[in-house]
């Protein structure tokens, strides 16, 4: 007999996600993923100045802030043919790296850790034992018994106050928690450290972009100017500030995040064979070292892997209408030509069409439409995107940095490469790439200083800033790798205005409902066969869903090039 369970809201994510699952004989036998909120940013973009699009699309997500802004300026630059100066590319890379560092650390501790770390168990820990374990895996100076005792007292006070706050009603004591109390205590302590540290690294955004979340970007370069002889621009002090932040980030990632990740993983090895899901992986690649138009010199490679065959990497082209296409068969939209066929983003349509049950509802009609998320496919294949896809594509493309870090880690667990195709593999990939990104960031910082030292202080290419210099019609695509995976924007510019704008974002790939052929996307596929100790307390489902780091506000979107349904709303 199967039991239907509903988890809504899925918490510790960005956005509104609902999972409905069937559990049979203690395992998930079927799962449905639904995005339950929509805003309509794409239709709002129509008719506006393409140079403003970065600010609008940046608001697609405040957790992965900046990533849409970056994809957007690239899209417009691609459309009208702007090449940004090398320094602007470096500043964009630095902001990209800062985002990865902050986002991945916050994901591991604030969004994912409580799936593995039992906070209440930490009360039973011996701080001396926690000290000895922590010091055996890391030189992090705060790992002392006094410190662990303080944290323990703090948690104790919280529990005794009767107001558990964010820890209220957690799954404490659930049989799927396997960490000994001392390791739980280390986890809780570093949860607090991570929360405090993350507000530091994002100051890189504040320095170059003026604020975080949502720093400022600019079509043609970056808005901050360089002047080594003035306090009002990027100067020696600002560069030194960034350098210090990077140094501290490397310490935090190497001495806290990665050791904790490996320690936690060592108690949950069975999760290296749970939650693999799809066998196809897609990455657009990013972090240019020779300009955005030369993907062969990206730090993260571009490509697709099918059927887990790491011996072959397929070329990926954003501008090819036969590659990325979207279905709405099970999404609350309708296509003029029928919902069975997919459409490429440049010709995409969206017409809001809610056919779900009238709220309040208990269950969705999963045979029909059941999500605000569309279903993208690459050459009609469902693809997983994200840190794992990124590392696999890089690994298969022969990226030596990536090969080294993966091989070294697998050796520690005495595990084969296939262990990566799992919930824990996904979580591990995120930590490993964070370490790489931290070191790459240091290189970019040094390169920027070298350029400035050599007299190149250009940050902006003003040549095509004025829209009147643009062709009457221009189409562009901008590819990037958001922390959560492959991200692309498509633009169609007519008469200096946005005629059409489309976002296909990482969580659209991963969280989407089934396609017209009934094929599952990543979340739904990876949840199959997940063991459930107690369906009433769906901790195991949260582990796998969280391993993707869901970000749902980005994933739901709408536009309507025909303007049919939505045109009825007058534009004043």
């Amino acid at each position: 007999m199967s039991t239907r369970i509903v988890i809504d809201p899925i918490t510790r994510i960005e956005g509104h996600l609902r999972i409905e699952a069937e559990v049979k004989n203690g395992k998930v036998s079927n799962a449905y993923s639904s995005g339950t909120m929509v805003r309509g940013i794409e239709i709002i973009l129509r008719g506006r100045d393409p140079r403003d699009a970065w600010a609008f699309t940046e608001r697609a997500c405040g957790v992965c802030t900046t990533v849409h802004a970056l994809a957007s300026v690239r899209t417009v630059e691609n459309a009208v043919g702007i090449v940004v100066p090398p320094n602007a590319e470096l500043v964009r890379n630095l902001m990209f790296c800062a985002q990865y560092l902050q986002d991945h650390v916050v994901h591991f501790y604030q969004l994912h850790a409580l799936d593995w770390v039992d906070v209440v168990s930490a009360l039973k820990a011996n701080p001396v034992e926690a000290e000895s374990i922590a010091q055996s895996i890391s030189p992090w100076p705060k790992n002392s018994r006094t410190y662990f005792k303080e944290v323990q007292n703090r948690v104790k006070a919280l529990v005794e106050s009767g107001q558990l706050g964010i820890f209220a009603n957690g799954y404490w004591g659930h049989p799927a928690y396997k960490l000994p109390p001392a390791v739980n205590l280390i986890g809780v302590a570093h949860y607090l450290d991570a929360l405090e540290w993350q507000k530091e690294i994002i100051k890189v955004h504040t320095i170059f972009g003026g604020k975080n979340p949502h720093p400022n970007y600019l079509v043609g370069g970056v808005p901050c100017a360089v002047n080594t002889e003035d306090a009002n621009a990027i100067n020696a002090e600002r560069l030194a500030y960034v350098g210090t932040l990077i140094g501290n980030a490397i310490d935090f990632v190497e001495q806290v995040y990665v050791p904790d990740l490996l320690a936690v993983a060592s108690f949950y090895k069975e999760w290296f064979s749970i939650g693999g899901g799809l066998k196809n992986y897609l990455a657009y690649g990013d972090l240019p070292t020779n300009g955005y138009n030369d993907p062969s010199n990206f730090k993260f490679q571009r490509g697709a892997i099918l059927n887990r065959n790491l011996n072959e990497v397929f070329e990926v082209k954003g501008e090819d209408p036969e590659e990325v296409r979207e279905y709405v068969t099970h999404s609350w939209y309708k296509y003029a030509g029928g919902d069975a066929k997919s459409l490429p983003p440049w010709n995409g349509e969206t017409d809001l069409n809610f056919t779900g049950p009238k709220p309040p509802y208990e269950q969705l009609n999963v045979d029909g439409k059941y999500s605000w998320i569309k279903t993208p496919r690459w050459k009609d294949n469902p693809m997983e995107v994200g840190p794992l896809a990124r590392l696999l594509v890089a690994f298969a493309s022969g990226n030596t940095d990536v090969k080294e870090v993966i091989t070294e880690t697998l050796k520690k667990f005495d595990a084969p490469v296939t262990a990566l195709f799992s919930t824990l593999g996904r979580t591990a990939a995120r930590g490993l790439e964070t370490k790489l990104v931290a070191h790459w960031m240091k290189e970019f910082h040094q390169d920027l200083i070298t350029n400035i030292k050599n007299g190149d202080i250009r940050m902006f290419n003003s040549e095509k800033w004025e829209p009147k210099t643009w062709p009457k019609e221009a189409k562009g695509v901008g590819l990037s790798e958001a922390p959560r995976g492959a991200l692309a924007h498509w633009i169609d510019i007519k008469d200096e205005k946005i005629a059409n704008y489309q976002l296909v974002v990482p969580s659209t790939w991963n969280a989407s409902p089934r396609d017209a052929n009934g094929k599952r996307s990543a979340y739904e596929a990876s949840l199959l066969d997940t063991p459930m100790a107690n369906p009433e307390q769906p901790l195991e489902i949260l582990r796998t869903v969280h391993s993707f780091d869901p970000c749902i506000a980005c994933a739901v979107h709408l536009h309507d090039p025909e303007g049919k349904h939505l045109n009825r709303i007058s534009f004043m």
Binding site: T11, H16, I43, I44, R59, P223
Partner: protein, 378 residues
Amino acid sequence: MPDQPQTLWEKMQSQGYSRRDFMRFCAYITAAAGIHASGLSKVAKALETKPRPPVVWFHFQECTCCSESFIRSSHPIVSDIILDKISLDYSETLQAAAGHQAEAALHNTMEKYKGEYIMTVEGSVPTKDGGVYCTIGGRTALDIVKEAAEGAKAIIAWGSCASNGCIQASKPNPTGATPIHEVITNKTVIKVPGCPPIAEVMAGVIVYILAFDRLPQLDGLGRPQSFYSTRVHDSCYRRPYYDAGLFVETFDDDAAKKGHCLYKMGCRGPVTYNSCGIIRWNNGVSYPIQSGHGCIGCSEASFWDNGPFYRHLASFPGFGIETTADTIGTVAAIGAGAGVAGHAIATNIRKRRLIKQEMEHSVKNEDVASANEQKGGE
């Protein structure tokens, strides 16, 4: 286990903090909340006698940038707020529990602390088509917000989404995105606009309520005066260049490299009320103008429709501009096609009213201040 939740002072004692630490902490948050130093004893007394107030934090149509901003707070740091100062009983971003367990935590607080909990909302509420554009646990945002507002002691609208609808409410507002004060009309809604608001401003608003057990003083638009009474333009360190008529003409030009005024690059500082120039961002590191980009006016209603962002505000740049900025309601200021201009005029009429209110208010305050001074002198 005690029946009564611990007060902050008790909590700090149990963590080994001294009375002196406690007083220093009180001084810190007093300053953070923009409270005059004479209010310190009041803050200390409030914090040492109160249990941690329960807070329920909703997410509707939003991007979570407000939550992300909140966790960037450096004074107080956010773990101190959520573990020691408030009890964050419902937060989809941070709470351990999901699904039914999360909903149970919410309802437990709403029942147990009826009339006592602080309700904070991040995001707008879609009202079109029966609210189907945002549901949580199968219920519409509209339903949820109305139910929760009933028993709330205070309601805070975080960010521009909840305060004025923000991006999803900009034209043509496909989902009927509506700010909270238009959905909850029988209670005061404290608006903390910005996309997102500054972290320390968010923390400061919470600290204010906690310390004084009352809502912060609000301006005519429902924003805490302590953070939204100054125009970015009036607190801008580049203001002297504006007054001297020295402007950036294109990004990365010589003027940009010297930090001249960004007015001609579309800066909205002259029509934006926020603390960016004073508190600055991410513990005072910088703010948009300091980093070379104009203010986009993200704390003002309809700022998305007052673009394009790089078209400068109306009028001739130079010495005469100040008049224009202050009497902006009389000018069809930000032209971007007839539709947007129409909207801009509506905004500007509101703005004119606001400026008038602000001016009257500041006159009143000056009167009070001078009266106080006289008293002090007696």
